[in-house]
Amino acid sequence: MNALGALPLWLLPLAPMIAAALCAVLAITGRMRAAAPFITLIATLISAGITAAHFPAAGAVPASAHYAWLSIPHGVTIALSVHIDAMAWMMLAVVCLVSTLVQIYSTGYMKTEPAYARYFACLSLFTSSMLGLVLADNLFQLYVCWELVGICSYLLIGFWWSKKSASDAAKKAFIVTRFGDVGFFLGVLLMVSAAGSFQFTEVQHAVTAAAGGQALSIPLLSTQAFLIVAPLLLFCGAIGKSAQFPLHVWLPDAMEGPTPVSALIHAATMVAAGVYMVARLLPIFQASVVVQDVIILVGSITALIAATIAMVQTDIKKVMAYSTISQLGYMFIALGCGSRDAGLFHLVTHAMFKALLFLTAGSVIHAMHHAANPNDMSGMGGLGKKMRITSATCLIGALALAGIPPLSGFWSKDAILGAALASPNPMAKVGLIVALIVAALTAFYSIRMWMLTFSGESRSETAAHAHEGPVVMTTPLAILALFSLGIGWFLHSGERFTTFLNGGAEGAPEPVVLWLVALAIACGVGGALLGWSMYRTPKAVDPITKVPGYTLFANLWFIDAFWGSVAAAGALALGRGIAWFDRKFIDGAMDAIGHACGWSGDRLRRTATGQAQMYTTVVMACLLIIALAMAITQGGGR
């Protein structure tokens, strides 16, 4: 470890970047494609090693390095940073762990893929950008990496680009998040013009000062308005990237990408970037009650809507995608209630069990790849007997997601409920109620998903002949299952997580509200039991279709339909309209000027008749006019 600690800090985010470049060379030249996963893994392990070597001990100064990149006029300097404080370290650990496991898993999952090297190049590029995002101590680097992880997501969702659905999904993901990013960019501009610096500390200082009544000179906005508008604009970025209502529509489509990618990017790391950003800048978001309310509200709506949709999905990855959206909503409820620790705690546990769930889904899809639609749960069933490891680990993941004690999801969900109860904000009560309802729904759909896939009899020929994947795929499952089992309890006991995040300062332990814990357990167990009883015996028709509201849920609350028909079609129509207008009127006006010149030339030409009498008449007339004009002006002068 000591040897790795001596490596320069910049290697931490850049080692995977170098690996990405090397893999890209392999991909373009088409040689030695088998080397790509090793290059990628070595780079990730180097990053992981450097991370481990810089564990922020309690009370120590965080490891930090700055590299000047550009100074723009006005003396604003842009420096890229590698800043490892407790919060960053926590996220680095998650990113490195999940990245490594997903890369190992991918060597098995993507083995037959011709574009093997390209896949690993994109994966490395993503790891690098994500590490850069986590290591930022300024808004500029945050924004840069924010966009870079977005483009990696685009490249990986569209990995199988010859499928139209995949290239559509990639495009949709990028454009929808771009809407949020515009808000984010504006937020950054506002913050920079208020603070005169990109540094988080300076920005937070400026906002705190403004909240304390110090007037700021910001264009367009009063100080009061600034405290509401600027954080909300930053939050727009989180809404896009973390797939919150109403911009959540891209994440389910993003399931077109390879499943390991879904586990890494669209469950554990990138989609959590929004949560990480809000947590990192939490003082900014807490400066105004309105902002807190909005965050809780967005989180609650998202959690509820996504959970109801997840109940009725038949595509195994779509269930998990909506579940991810819903759980991210959960984290935002915690952050809106002002509890950074609860939100991040859930981020960590969720990263473990959701990465696990996606990888088990990958195993299943890998086994089902001869089916017409390998993701469809109605063609599965009975896989538990064929794929014991996958089945067992998936059950652990599902129970953790359901919040069954003592698995990890229970502890973090409990922390969020506790935070919502403790918050003085009235809106937090809404969050609390929604969170309890969603807890029950979550337990229901996770058990439903497991039952449909693994229990009962095989419902298709392919499912009957399914078998377990190679050991490179099952080992990551086992490791993640261990984490999903134990990490919640481990981090919770003795307030380890909170103490670590607060730099060793031991906070007062949260008072345990027994009735709330009991209620949470009741919701979780009740939902799970309901799911179990409904899917215990095989039925011809999925019983979920008889649930009231099924039409609404199955049609995704008509949100996708709205975006598709109103926004996308409207934008295209606008484009065609403006293009037509440009040709017809603007260009038409230019042509008209040309024609007018031609026409007047033609008319003038006709005056050149060649008749001397005509010319003399014109000359005389002109002379007369000039004489008159001179007489009038000169006469007037006297």
Binding site: L148, I151, S162, K171, I175, R178, L189, I578, A579, D587
Partner: protein, 532 residues
């Protein structure tokens, strides 16, 4: 040696253009090699100009100045500052790429390449000239060959013949030239010394009323070439009809001449006038950004998409210029470089695709990435730069333009920023339609990937985009020094007198940091004296 660098870059392509005419048409290889030599020979001086530019000294360097027609006050005076050297490097890169891209042109290659090189000599001249007479002369040399290049070698499309496009482009640009000529003659006769020398004119005091109208003439005249709304309509037709190398150079560097003219003749020589018109300029630029992008979204022809995207991106350049502050100006020149490379890359790729697929209608394409992976990768890089993705040159350029505009007219910056979403929409749609999806082998028998020469050209351009994006500091520094040290003496004097303390003030950064610090010090001293 240094003082000859500019003259060499201007004359080398022109000399090659003349030599080309002496080679018999049958010797195809010799023609191509001479053209390549004439283009590539400008690269070493262009790189040397960037390296040798003395950043500590600033101002105009590499001066060569002698009387041409003394009685009329015309001098052959060339010199370059940080902005010029960067743009000269861009031109040198693009013309080399352009010759590579026309390597396989079948018909009348000799005349084509000769005109192309002549044109580029003119472009170098404009970037280097410090005498208004020569500036205008070079400007016309750069613009006029376009008429033949499009009219003879172009392609007709969308019911518009190449002759029509060539005519429209030339007439509209000539109208612009008329405005420019008026402004130049105005300055000439207004100055008491009657000179075309820009250094002498920079020391002449123009009163506010004169500056107001002279700036207007400069803005409209050069603005037409920069594609300002609503005078941009020559650009889609012209770029769509022009052959590959011509589109590359025209969108890549010629449109930059327009923006450069507004910067050099307008903002720098007529600062008062620029202040008067800055809001109008900013509004028009905002319209350009959005209108161009939305129009691009509605196009079906690949070349029209790129052409409208140029209108949008040149709007970004004008947005940066209109901010009149150093951040925005830096951004504008960065965007000129970025867009120059990017659009050169785009048109090169589009030319390759058209040559092989024989269609430019995007709806008829699909899955081309399987057949031409190199083109797909390079064009994707161009696309990413086009919507300002970090780690490409487009990002830092657009960032600075928006930030500059934000400091001057925040509301307009807010509106213009929406352009980056629209750009992402049309770029990604275009990429998807051409390269992704199922390839249909029945429609296209053969779609070979780029040849070696073309591969070199497009991958070098793509690497430039990423290289500048990863480390833009050398370029931004050059531009910043150039802008800061080539102001009119009276502007600097004014900044000094006002003791501009507010860092966001447009004049503030004119004072080099040391001067600024010294001034605030004396200011503090005086304040202390007052309180005492």
């Amino acid at each position: 040696m240094n003082e000859w660098l500019l003259t060499i870059t201007i004359l080398a392509p022109m000399l090659a253009a003349v030599i080309l005419l002496l080679i018999p048409e049958k010797q195809g290889l010799a023609i191509r090699l001479v053209a390549l030599a004439g283009a590539a020979i400008t690269l070493p001086p262009a790189i040397l100009l960037c390296l040798n530019y003395d950043r500590a000294k600033g101002g105009y360097q590499f001066v060569q100045d002698f009387a041409w027609v003394p009685t009329l006050g015309i001098r052959y005076h060339v010199a370059a500052d940080g902005i010029s050297v960067v743009l000269i490097l861009l031109t040198a890169v693009l013309i080399t790429g352009g010759v590579f891209a026309s390597w396989t042109r079948p018909d009348r290659t000799k005349e084509f390449l000769s005109l192309l090189l002549l044109l580029v000599g003119g472009v170098f001249g404009v970037f280097a000239a410090r005498d208004l007479f020569f500036l205008f002369l070079f400007y016309e040399i750069a613009v006029l060959p376009m008429y033949l290049l499009i009219g003879v070698w172009g392609t007709s499309s969308q019911g518009r013949t190449k002759e029509y496009s060539a005519m429209k482009l030339t007439l509209m640009l000539m109208a612009g030239s008329a405005f420019i000529l008026v402004a130049i003659l105005g300055m000439y006769s207004y100055s008491t010394v009657h000179t075309f020398d820009m250094d002498a004119l920079a020391r002449t005091k123009f009163d506010a009323g004169f500056q107001h109208w002279a700036f207007f003439a400069v803005y409209v005249g050069f603005g037409i070439l920069a594609g300002i709304f609503p005078l941009h309509t020559w650009s889609p037709d012209g770029h769509a009809s022009a052959p590959t190398a011509v589109s590359m150079l025209h969108a890549g560097v010629l449109m930059k001449l327009g923006a450069y003219g507004v910067l050099r003749l307008g903002i720098q020589m007529l600062p008062q006038g620029a202040q008067d018109w800055s809001f109008v300029m900013a509004c028009i630029a905002t319209i350009n950004v959005l209108y161009g992008a939305i129009s691009a979204m509605g196009q079906t022809d690949l070349k029209y998409i790129i052409a409208y995207s140029s209108v949008s991106h040149m709007g970004m350049v004008m947005l940066g210029l209109a901010s009149l502050n150093p951040v925005g100006i830096n951004g504008a020149v960065m965007q000129m470089v970025s867009h120059g490379v990017m659009t050169g890359l785009f048109f090169a790729c589009v030319g390759l695709i058209y040559e092989r697929a024989h269609t430019r209608i995007v709806a008829k394409m699909g899955g081309f990435a399987t057949k031409m992976p190199i083109v797909a990768v390079c064009m994707t890089v161009g696309g990413l730069a086009s919507f300002g993705l970090p780690a490409t040159s487009g990002f830092i350029a657009e960032f600075l333009c928006f930030y500059g505009m934000w400091l001057r007219y925040p509301a307009l910056a807010l509106i213009a920023i929406l352009g980056i979403v629209v750009t992402a929409v049309y770029v990604l749609r275009m990429m998807q339609k051409i390269f992704f999806g199922q390839f249909n082998p029945e429609d296209y028998h053969e779609l070979p990937d780029a040849r070696t020469t073309e591969r070199v050209a497009i991958s070098v351009l793509a690497c430039c985009l990423i290289g500048i994006g990863l480390y833009p500091k050398p370029f931004v520094d050059l531009i910043d020094i150039g802008w800061r040290t080539t102001q009119r003496p009276d502007v600097i004097e004014q900044a000094r007198r006002q003791h501009v303390a507010d860092a966001t003030h447009p004049l503030a950064a004119l004072l080099t940091p040391s001067v600024h610090a010294a001034n605030s010090e004396t200011n503090n001293d005086r304040n202390r004296g007052l309180t005492r």
